[in-house]
Symmetry: C2
């Protein structure tokens, strides 16, 4: 038997599904929360860190942040902050005191405890695409999001072991009226996946978390503050992610945009720590630049990478877990999409990011959820997980392989050695989407480009998908809750 006759098999490990080797859509990596072993890239020296910190503190002390929420004012007044109108100024010592209460690591456990996610430290977790209004695939093209695509993208989220968290809506199902959309979506999220879920609003799940974005510059709006303070009081984790596009809502200098982002983020986290000391919080970064020709946001740019790394350096200075994104500006799942996404993922890896939002499926600066891009991104995420595995750089005698080198003569080949035979099945990362055949074999098979291969893959995944097991009594209770709230009219809307 030659090596070519055998096929590499990796354990699939999809919890809740029986092992069905013969019928898998893809052979994927087993579930794990990867640990990033590398020392992060620090673009700032010690003086630079001190300067960025001082600037962020000056923004909080001298200029202030607008909190558009009276309840937040009450808390902040109680804490001794200076409030004029909506503007809140904070003393840097108090901010540092509050920030120091944030746990450096914590765990969120979903309804399937095997899918618990550890955040902070060296951990790195991947979240599906969240919140695009539109959806795209190569068969049906661009269209507004709907409940069918919402469900499909949740199925991908559940299927891929390299997606650890079901974030916000993977696409906005605009065919469901906004007054009851959150109820239908909640039901789908909690039945189609058993992973950690991001909640936009309150649910009765065991453990959820939320993310809020500031209205940069320097403003936290009422609804997000209201929701986040409710989360804080219940001890549910909160991610605070300012949306600071340099040259638009933030200074045109990347360091300045980072300063503003830090000030906005730290101000909100300080508030939540005052409300609930020790609340798990994550500092988010969404600092990128705009295209100065058009004003359009750009992502995965050189400036984006450095901003992510600088924010990572400051997050470590403050002892805070960090969230970033797998972002791109491209409108199709093509070369540009992948180099921008690759830059964003390398920014996350070299920046020491703990939670990567939009890790799979995002296009057009977050306005499109793409079926094919979701699949392509998961190939990149698996590769990064493999990159983090310490066995690649092991220096045991067996790994150093001097005896194997001795055994193979100068005209020899390593395929046949026992050293290779003992290891070849797991020695290398095995892709599910990359095509490594030579040109002749690839062209004889139809010259299929990556996005077209991804198109075939997601159809196979949808055909294979089975929902995770759920206690029927809990499912019925959840369905009854949704039906009752819908019958009561859902949430108020003005349309």
């Amino acid at each position: 038997m030659t090596i070519q006759d055998r096929r590499t098999r990796r354990s699939g490990g999809r919890s809740g599904n029986a092992r069905r080797d013969s019928a898998r859509a893809i052979e994927q990596m087993s579930w794990r929360i990867p640990l990033n072993p590398d020392r992060p890239i620090d673009p700032l020296d010690a003086d630079g860190v001190a300067a960025v910190h001082d600037a962020a503190m000056r923004v909080l002390e001298e200029i202030g942040i607008e909190f558009l929420n009276d309840e937040a004012h009450a808390y902040l007044r109680e804490a001794g902050c200076t409030i004029e109108g909506q503007n809140v100024r904070m003393d840097r010592d108090w901010v540092r005191e509050m920030i120091a209460k944030v746990p450096s690591e914590f765990t969120i456990t979903p309804r399937n405890p095997d899918r618990a996610v550890r955040l902070g430290g060296k951990h790195m977790a991947f979240v599906n695409v969240s919140s695009p209004p539109n959806v795209m695939d190569m068969d049906r093209g661009w269209r507004p999001g709907d409940m069918e695509s919402f469900r499909d993208l949740l199925k991908f989220t559940q299927y891929f072991n390299c997606i650890h968290v079901a974030g916000g809506y993977p696409v906005e199902p605009v065919d469901v009226h906004a007054s009851i959309r959150h109820l239908d979506c909640l039901y789908e999220k909690l039945t189609l996946t058993d992973k950690v879920v991001h909640a936009y609003s309150l649910g009765h799940e065991r453990e959820v978390y939320t993310n809020i974005n500031s209205s940069s510059p320097r403003t936290h709006d009422w609804p997000m503050l209201d929701g986040a303070m409710r989360f804080a009081r219940r001890g549910q984790p909160v991610v605070v992610t300012p949306f600071t596009l340099a040259g638009a809502m933030a200074p045109v200098t990347m360091t300045g945009a980072v300063v503003q982002s830090l000030a906005e983020g730290l101000a909100a986290i300080a508030l939540f720590q005052h409300i609930r000391p020790g609340l798990p919080c994550v500092l988010g970064t969404f600092t990128s630049n705009v295209d100065m020709k058009s004003g359009a946001p750009a992502f995965g740019t050189p400036e984006y990478v450095r901003a992510t790394q600088m924010t990572g350096q400051m997050a470590r200075f403050y002892g805070l877990p960090l969230r970033a994104s797998n972002a791109c500006a491209a409108n199709a799942p093509d070369g540009q999409a992948m180099w921008e996404s690759s830059n964003s993922l390398w920014a996350a890896a070299t920046g020491g990011v703990n939670l990567v939002y939009h890790a799979a499926g995002w296009l057009e600066g977050g306005l499109i959820a793409s079926y094919e891009k979701f699949v392509m991104d998961c190939e990149l995420l698996q590769q990064m997980q493999r990159y983090f595995e310490s066995e690649i750089t092991a220096t045991t005698d067996a790994a150093l392989a001097v005896d194997a080198i001795r055994e193979v003569g100068p005209n020899g080949h390593f395929f046949g050695t026992q050293h290779t035979q003992d290891r070849y099945q797991t020695a290398f990362y095995s892709p599910f989407l990359s095509d490594w055949r030579n040109y002749e074999a690839w062209s004889e098979a139809g010259s299929v480009w990556t996005a077209e291969r991804a198109n075939k893959t997601w159809k196979a995944i949808l055909a294979e998908y089975t929902p995770p097991p759920i206690d029927e009594g809990i499912r019925e209770e959840l369905a009854a809750f949704v039906a009752r709230r819908k019958s009561e009219g859902g949430a108020p809307t003005d349309f």
Copy 2:
């Protein structure tokens, strides 16, 4: 005048061509040899470095390297090495003594002194694709290389300021008989470009360099040793690049493949230092893994990235400049091609690589030179050059921008501030190929994917290309040299 009314202008800086703003195919970055400011990623700890070094030295001391060249044996016998048949064993102290003579940095100056390339230290230079037998573009598809495509790819090499070195043949022109091919190619290289050239054989250029590959495992062949020793005696730089595919010509463990690559590379460099102490030499790495399902080489894999980083760490341990590649296995300029290339470039950046071969244009593991991929890769190279610029992470008061943050109110926008107006033209990287428009504008413009945009770009570049100036007397002398050597029958071949 609004920002959108203006267009960002960067200095083009193509030496030898008059500035023609109105007719440029693209607006590209000016020429520079980038300096990589980041601390490299070190996957090995101190014990790991010592273990890899010891293993490489054991290969040289106990197992030996085959030198298929009697003249090399004479030199190595003179140096005190142990020679049995073709096998040469070397004492580790002598190897270290020889390696220590290699300059840590040096400069190669081509006929245009403005295009001098500094190698070693923090410098990072990019070389065009070298040596594929086949060529591809989206109009004509796949075909064997010919003189027309050879010339076209050299024109791209000259045109792009982010390509610093004209490496080996950018494609093999198989329509020219092998006996005289090197003469025609030499003439084209020296007239179509004025950059540093890699020479496969001897020429009369002012300053050239060469690269040799070992025949792994553990063998240096006659012709490459012969050519490299001629280079060494003349003081021309030599790059030594073992071709160690883990699981094929090297151990299946990546650390073992690195050990073998180091042993092969250091052995040849030690020989050249014995011949010419202080000869500029560069350690090359081409360690990747094969696809264990097919035996096909894979590139830009997680294992490739770690092997590059480990070799970088060892190159710094030995004080040697390092060469790696922008490699991929993909057969089309698509998503896979760009994520594999992006991984390879990030491996080079985080590995502290000084010379990146095949930086633009390579597909199918080096068997295809692609017109579109050349253009797409140059977009990535420019982005990496921008990423290295220290101004992005400056922490001056102006960069920290506290006053600009103070000036812009909570509902304000930074577009209109003086801080932005003073900087917006050069604040951000300006791509020539990325399309950052929103979906509506992009689709109205025809929904053009990246590779199709690159197809348009290379046609515009060929239309714009003008050869660099050359002294007519020198050109005539070169043409006469080529004509004379062709009339003498060129190099001997057996066909």
